[in-house]
Symmetry: C2
Subunit: 224 residues, 2 copies
């Protein structure tokens, strides 16, 4: 059976990506990296999603990126309320985050002899995140195919980002068709009392996605 | 002042690379990653070397790659006695190790606004390690220049492996000329009572390097 490693944050995108990998017939090895983000609720969501969608294995790695800082998700900075006029890279960008995540996934893929790494990168919502762009993903794949013992043995790895060009509404539609239970997922950058804040960019795009897809948003938002 | 991040294991190669970066006028931010290798003595050596050679900062990150396994340095496998007839990739290869290390260095480089990442990769001694080859290093550099917010702002990063084509004797000669105190460094894969074993591949190449350079080896070897 073909195998894939999947980066699973427990959010909407990575959960949908897990469902896609399963629908393509992959045995899925899920990897969640706890990098010191405030958002520990995501990891609880990741465990629920991995169990619900039938990951073959789910590994959780602790990696404290607060050592480097440089992001509102690792430092004690405020996550901003979503602003549609904002065009610069948001302060939720974590330096080299996807490169670190994909590198760890590459180690896991080599050990499990997986042929693919799936991750839920998407260029639309966070167009400012450099490490979600197709050019970046292709460059990572080229590097990965020179990096490992498996690559020397001729066993290629592909880096798959099936959501990269989809809108949030399209992602939700695909996931719903594949049976993803989005009530298990967690998206918010800045949860209050373990509930989604409803006002950060992550909450904004998630809720808009459900509205655009004309589907009910199962998220319970914090109302103070 | 120009800045560089340096991956510092506390071994001979990375210590020499630190001296080279300093000699080129870089302010050096050293990063040691403790990845669950048995060899904790390396980290003590890394601290001594960073202080001795004047790193501007020295960060130590814990990252337990035993989660994935697949190497004698992370699992409970025996490190083999050096065998000159052996041509396959040795079991000391750690899956995706340099990719993970360089990715973490990339995060550190972005936060410190460093223009270069130095690391002590070398193709000769461990010709089987895929992630020490120039093609791999070039591919990592291309990927890194698409990965970060700094790269989007036009601030390029270069991945520097100044030892990549040098013999161990040449490395030791250069380091000696730059004032590296090799008695502070630690190389052995399989130390006994905190002393170098003298028989693993790392010890073999280190000692041969000193002999070829016609310099005294300051290493204290375990004699049982």
């Amino acid at each position: 059976m073909k195998k894939a490693v999947l980066l699973l944050s427990g959010g909407l995108d990575s959960s949908t990506t897990l469902a896609i990998a399963k629908s393509e017939g992959f045995l899925v090895y899920a990897l969640s990296v706890f990098y010191g983000q405030r958002n520990e609720i995501e990891l609880i969501a990741a465990k629920r999603v991995a169990a619900s969608l039938g990951a073959a294995e789910h590994k959780i790695l602790n990696l404290d990126l607060r050592l480097f800082g440089g992001s509102s998700l690792t430092d004690q900075l405020d996550v901003k309320v979503h602003n549609e006029q904002e065009t610069s890279i948001p302060n939720t960008y974590v330096p080299a985050r996807n490169t670190i995540m994909l590198s760890l996934a590459l180690a896991y893929a080599e050990v499990t002899k997986a042929q693919a790494i799936f991750f839920g990168a998407n260029i639309h919502d966070y167009s400012g995140y450099p490490d979600c762009r197709p050019d970046y993903i292709n460059a990572f794949e080229k590097m990965a195919n020179l990096a490992t013992k498996e690559s020397v043995l001729g066993n290629k790895i592909s880096i798959r980002a099936p959501l990269v060009n989809l809108s949030k509404a399209q992602i939700i539609q695909i996931g719903t068709n594949l049976g993803v239970d989005y009530s298990l997922t967690h998206t918010c950058y800045d949860p209050k009392e373990r509930l989604a804040c409803g006002v950060c960019s992550a909450c904004f795009y998630r809720h808009k996605g459900f509205m655009d897809a004309q589907l009910a948003d199962p998220t319970i938002y914090y109302t103070g």
